[in-house]
């Protein structure tokens, strides 16, 4: 099996030709100071190299060996610590971090592509850095200057790691039930006591300290507050002191991601520091959570890309049967890629992955403008971030599992055997549909809050802008434009139907949200395919442009109709979902 190769030409094309990165960056002074296309290309080339040479080699053994909980410590598999040191030293953890405090200040548009490469190479490893970057983002956005100065440089440098401590056994999707307590101390800090489960990277041996962001309740309060709780205390000069009453109770045994530690964490009068205002912890945590949601979508995207490469390579090598209508080379047996069903499977993965990358980059572009832009451009980008983040998390992670399973099918019986590695992708990526808010919750956030909660304002703005862009395309079949445009309009109509009935049918949003998100995702991908196909016409590599045309035609012809199915489900409403009494389930 060929090692992972990042789709660099594809990535550069998206930045340069589809989403106007050079112009966008030039218009944002805080970004322009650090990056132009040449720098970005150099960084991507280097990210490809470390993904292939540093991360992919530890992927398989990490799955076999897993993390071990021993003597109150969590030990990562062989090679993880060395790889993490090198990864941190390369500046990858702080790639998009605040340059005033040791980050590299790179735009998210570039960050998502680097993340994708890392996830393609090794799902489990990449989570450690992703959680750290997310914790840093949250501290930078909501922490005091003192906390930022004390903790961010070491997080960006990767010397310390971060973790997000939310879930408790009785409080998962519903955080109201959190029982971890925070008692104010005289020095302005807090004493944290309680227990959390499912803490990714809660403990490990990769770094000398781990900075936990812990949700807890103040005495007598129903509100939830956010606290920075280091595993090892840090003194005023930044040196590590004694341990802080943060211990690992056990690790979970999971379906996959076996090299990623998932811990039960206990806090026994651990010293913590308030982040943001009291009782406003969820707002702060959502800065991290939204970051992680996009990252988890990208986990699915990275999995899709890796799965495609493995399956395509196998389909070109594995010889079995003869092409319908006779072997193209006159051979006795052909590689299985000659078979329509195998091509169908590969094309399914391919078109969803490439459009998925467009979703990832577009969401990142809005994040960059929302963070570094000004005025109405900044405000609009913020609206689009709200709209696109749950879609990116859910749709990319759902497609990630589909891709891994479809690729496994291309391998036939060999796909079920651990040695080929494709089954590990299925197991590793499955959780992406669940953690950081299940995809059902993403869909309810999307339809309930971002669409209906906003009376369709942001969705209508986004859809109309997209329709206008389609109308301007010069090199795409008018009938295809009409198809996608018509479906965009149907999305608005369906959204309006839900919005009009949300008060009289309180269960409606919850019942149809997943289908609404899936319908929107499929239409959005149709839009991406048309703008990519159009932009590729002028590409210097003729193969590149014809390939985009083939793939776009396949998507519009074969995959886009799925939007109609999901729309039908939305319009079928909630009646048949809600009527059967609970006792008959």
């Amino acid at each position: 099996m060929n090692p992972y190769q990042a789709p660099l030409a594809e990535m550069k094309f998206l930045l340069d030709k589809v989403f106007d990165a050079p112009q966008t960056w030039a218009s944002l002074p805080a970004i322009a100071e650090h990056v132009d296309m040449d720098t970005a290309v150099a960084i991507m080339d280097e990210a490809d190299k470390i993904s292939r040479e540093l991360l992919h080699p530890i992927n398989r053994n990490g799955d076999e060996q897993g993390v071990v909980h021993q003597d109150d410590k969590v030990i990562t598999p062989d090679g993880y610590k060395e790889a993490y040191n090198q990864y941190a030293e390369g500046g990858w953890v702080g790639l998009c971090g605040d340059p005033e405090l040791g980050g590299m200040g790179m735009p998210k548009m570039l960050g998502v592509l680097v993340d994708e490469m890392a996830y393609s190479a090794c799902n489990a490893f990449t989570l450690y850095g992703s959680l750290t970057a997310g914790a840093a983002l949250c501290i930078n956005a909501h922490g005091s200057e003192a906390l930022k100065e004390k903790y961010l440089p070491q997080l960006y440098s990767g010397e310390w790691a971060g973790a997000m401590d939310m879930t408790e056994p009785q409080a998962g999707s519903d955080l109201r039930g959190i029982r971890t307590k925070a008692v104010p101390l005289d020095d302005g800090s807090y004493s944290i006591t309680g227990s959390k489960i499912f803490i990714t990277g809660g403990d490990h041996d990769l770094t000398e300290n781990i900075i936990h962001l812990v949700l807890a309740k103040l005495p007598g309060s129903k509100g939830i507050s956010l606290f920075l709780v280091p595993k090892i205390k840090v003194d005023d000069t930044g040196n590590l002191g004694e341990s802080n009453g943060v211990t690992v109770g056990s690790i979970e045994h999971k379906m996959g991601l076996k090299a990623s530690s998932t811990c039960v964490m206990n806090y026994d009068e651990a010293q913590g520091y308030l982040i943001g205002k009291p009782n406003r912890g969820l707002v702060c945590m959502f800065t991290m959570m939204n970051y992680e949601r996009l990252a988890i979508g990208i986990q699915g995207l990275g999995t899709s890309q890796a799965a495609y490469q493995m399956a395509a390579d196998y389909a070109k090598e594995r010889v079995q049967g003869i092409a319908a209508g006779g072997s193209p080379t006159g051979a006795d047996s052909d590689p299985i890629i000659v078979h329509g069903d195998v091509r169908r499977m590969l094309l399914n993965i391919r078109v969803l992955t490439e459009a998925g990358r467009a979703l990832s980059v577009l969401t990142a572009k809005q994040l960059d403008i929302a963070k570094y832009g000004e005025g109405e451009a900044k405000a609009k980008a913020s609206r689009y971030v709200g709209l696109l983040t749950p879609v990116a998390k859910a749709f990319l992670s759902d497609r990630g599992l589909d891709a891994a399973i479809t690729a496994q099918q291309v391998f036939g019986g060999h796909g079920y055997i651990r040695e080929t590695g494709i089954e590990q992708l299925v197991r590793d990526t499955r959780i992406a549909q669940i953690y950081e808010g299940t995809n059902g919750i993403q869909a309810i956030d999307f339809l309930g809050r971002k669409v209906a909660g906003d009376n369709l304002a942001a969705l209508t703005e986004f859809v109309n802008e997209s329709i206008a862009k389609l109308a301007d395309l010069q090199h795409v079949d008018a009938e295809q434009i009409a198809k996608v445009t018509g479906l965009f309009e149907k999305i608005l109509t369906a959204g309006a139907v839900v919005n009009d009935n949300k008060l009289t049918s309180p269960a409606l949003i919850n019942s149809v949200a997943v289908d609404f998100l899936d319908a929107f995702g499929h239409v959005l991908y149709g839009y991406f395919w048309l703008i990519m196909s159009d932009a590729a016409v002028s590409h210097s590599d003729e193969d590149f442009s014809s390939q985009k045309r083939y793939l776009s035609d396949f998507y519009i012809n074969k995959m886009l109709p799925k939007a109609e199915y999901h729309l039908a489900q939305v319009l079928a409403g909630d009646e048949t979902v809600m009527t059967m009494p609970e006792s008959l389930f």
Copy 2:
């Protein structure tokens, strides 16, 4: 978590009210001699008991411990041997076997329900008996009287086990490349030399002998012949003698089914006995393979049922959030089954599982009539067996994975943890889409051979008969009947389009087969829901009939539209699938 409970009321309803088992059995003398509804109900009650008390308890440990290859032997997990002995002594392996040679002579209509229970309780365990029953079926159909008398009683009794030895590294889906050799010996037997991979139950410690059905080539022949090759030689009095040059090379490490041994088998001048005619081995093997194909569909069905029960139990117990529109009990938190999205997931699994059971029983009914009936009834049933077998294998196993993944989603983060057991179902059932012919190959068999190869004759006959039955229903909404009827007609139209273009577009069948099968499956399930809903009206339990009405409405409203999506893919043809050059993949 509640232990597995077989859906006995459901099963009895299908036999008694939907598919007329009593009348069917009474009309087939070879069956009527052994079984009536009372006997069948007693057998189902007992099967439920052993599934719950004998098989389900060894499921989890079997996954943790797995099979072990040690000192040239394969050792099954703790408890497997004891369970297998008890299972065999109960007569379950020979349930549908020839009563002249020690089988119980039960109809397949009953057999599929017993199989489903066993697969629900423990996927891995059930394969051992299923392979044995399949091998016995093949020997009974094609073996000489001497072979039948010598081997069948011990296979039916479960004293010996069976295995199906087809695949070689270079010969998987395409068996032309088989290299295992069979050289004639003077005594009329053959000397078998070669190697096979992916042999389920190829070696284990459950029985004292294993009877392999091995595909091999005669000297100078391209044709493939079938041989009975015992692991241990059997003398003329039926006693076991010396070992027969059949050894296990290694076992595969798999994604799931870890308690099922999957072996590399080596034959070193092993003594074998021809089954059927020389060079006609595939025809004989297909008797076993068709049996196993239905069984593997039932593996998916059993998984679906187990997944549903686990997810529904969890959804009723797990408290999180409040119902949209307020808690029905005025509580602070409700069980998650109040949420529309959770109900949607449960209903998806439920309606596909119950319709899937109808597909399983209908296919079995055709098998019984094809085997024990006479004249045109027998001939028609054979045509329907050919038509329905690939659909049952592919559609049931695809839905099995969907069900397990959807149920896992209901569990949220807990679904990714090994302790809850739902992730084991995902891993165990994944292979069902691959082995015994991938689901792509099933679809090509269905559309290419059974539909287009027959110029739609059998399909048209089946569809018209189904439409006529729908027209006769007394208690079902006419609009729902019109919907399903209209889609059945669209299936025939789409099939005709494929048939008309199969010669000019040789890749067409291969490219659209999976979607054609999926479209047919979804329409067929709509048909099943209407006939079940109609039959349930007179059910003595009012809850039972109203439940069927709720579920039928959900299916027609929410799931049936998926058929349109798959039909659109069929009609979109193969052009966008086949045009992109291989080099661009």
